[in-house]
Symmetry: C2
Subunit: 366 residues, 2 copies
Amino acid sequence: MNNTISLIDAFKQAKYPLPGHGKRNVQVLKTAFEQVDGEMESDMYGAGEVIEGYQHKMAKLLGKESAVFFPSGTMAQQIALRIWSDVKGNKKVAYHPTCHLEIHEKDGLKELHHLEPILLADESRPVLLKDLEGLQEEAACVLLELPQREIGGQLPAFEELEAMSAFCRERGIKLHLDGARLFEVLPYYGKSAEEVCALFDSVYISVYKGIGGIAGAVLAGDRDFTEQSKVWKRRHGGDLISLYPYIVAADYYMERRLPLMEKYYHEAKELAVLYNGCELLRTVPAVPVSNMFHVHSERSKEQLEQIFAGVTLETGVGFTQSVREKKDGGAYFEISLGDRYGEAPRPIVAEAFRLLDQRLKAAEAV
Amino acid sequence: MNNTISLIDAFKQAKYPLPGHGKRNVQVLKTAFEQVDGEMESDMYGAGEVIEGYQHKMAKLLGKESAVFFPSGTMAQQIALRIWSDVKGNKKVAYHPTCHLEIHEKDGLKELHHLEPILLADESRPVLLKDLEGLQEEAACVLLELPQREIGGQLPAFEELEAMSAFCRERGIKLHLDGARLFEVLPYYGKSAEEVCALFDSVYISVYKGIGGIAGAVLAGDRDFTEQSKVWKRRHGGDLISLYPYIVAADYYMERRLPLMEKYYHEAKELAVLYNGCELLRTVPAVPVSNMFHVHSERSKEQLEQIFAGVTLETGVGFTQSVREKKDGGAYFEISLGDRYGEAPRPIVAEAFRLLDQRLKAAEAV
């Protein structure tokens, strides 16, 4: 890569970046606050119209008795599992091996809450009923992530979800939803948020994935559960004097983007077809079930970076800003569809993929 | 109080509110962001110019090797004590009975970190060298809060601080500064932040007390310490994808208000003279050593609320928006000086205090 541009720099210069909503810059905040009256009062340690009103709205949308705004999903989900563990008097909680709590949180669940995860299923697929049936020990709580982000955003069938929910209810196992991307899967399921959440005892959603806010999360459940979650939120240091910068942005972008989730989903399927049209690339899942998917290749990370950077420079089409190595050889990257894909002219995109396919095949021959 | 206005409503209507910087409303954010370029990139999970630049600036200001921005002081301080406890292999930490960690955090320190506090001194005074000398068991860490907020913002003499620091260093006890209001005490000490922080192994400062930002905190120390604090920040759920709404505001208001701390301190002394001029009120400390003090009275909470509301309505001078009961009878409230006091015309303020003194004496006679 001597004297050539890095992939991230090529992507940043791309006239037509395909994934995402846009740059994560201060304009995201400025736009959300443009029409907000400066006299609007801040929330104060969880109280006040700006936070209570939003929490009420989210409880209603998710079909739960109550909801609490959190600065992060990391905090919200550890707390959910801790509450269910205390309720059941059992430190075991079960989730997928790629669960956010297992791989992205420096073991906060274990170090702060001393919970003991049981890993369900494997990296080839999401958790299914057979995994719950196969549990060798009792768990206080099962966490299901919809879609399972780290394996490309795979989903169980809705009937499978219903069966897992019934299984847990019969056995008194609490069921928690990692719905970081819940709204993104609703078009595929053809269900409302409320219908999906009804299968779970507690629900977390993120406000900065498909919604595209600045940061923050919502945790919902019955009032007992959310009241306990507020105590833990204080203990974690998450009961900030003011969370309104995140709440106002969450509300603003949610209003605009929830109606677009269907569009992002269809565009993800369209874009996946383009990737799968390249002989040396394939998407996981083969047909997306949300606005996201992964792109895998047997080519190396370095080869892919160089080829993507080159095609981006030539065509103006931005594919991805990073590529990750796979443990077992080859490389992959993640795609999430947002506002930007719809703005890229289709003929230019098609030409970029034609060139990409050609370059990948040429690289192989080396 | 039938058919009369509540104290908080009277205060909100006051033309001349004496304490604080101003309303905690959305304008605080809008003003801070007015001149910020929308193209400025967000921080991403602790990386990026906006967070790294601010952390670097704060490390320099506090005279420490490194600094980390946290969403809250609750999170930052639990983490500081946890790190020192792990370093020393000792769960005991020592602090004042009114320490924030002891009374405002729902026992997060105990519930999440299983640390065991030793309480030093009592509610009549701050921690002194004799308290450390009298420790009956070994502590991993001593936390000193400057000023001790819940007892009116009292301070040990600087020589006493130096002696406590030397005592801890000799014995290998880590010394942590709860400097939520550190900048507010510098005029009294006649020292720089760096000179005070040099006495401590780790330092926390708040960006929304005297500085008047939106929320957030800074934790500083040597690089080993701050690197460990970042791991715990992730575990606590405080490593948000974007903290810039708080950082930009912190930086904006710090630039404007650090030079005003001396003014707030002198005004606090001036205002304390007015309170102490009322026969039935007295300030703690008698002469403030920062921008804050408490006002105590033998009159009841209800009497005080009614009298303050009445005088505020008549004169337009806002004294306080709340009064708290004292355990042993009587009542008190807290005053923090900020931008507003300087804007109130002195003759109107003097007249309001004359009336207040009169009403308090009349109430006594009832």
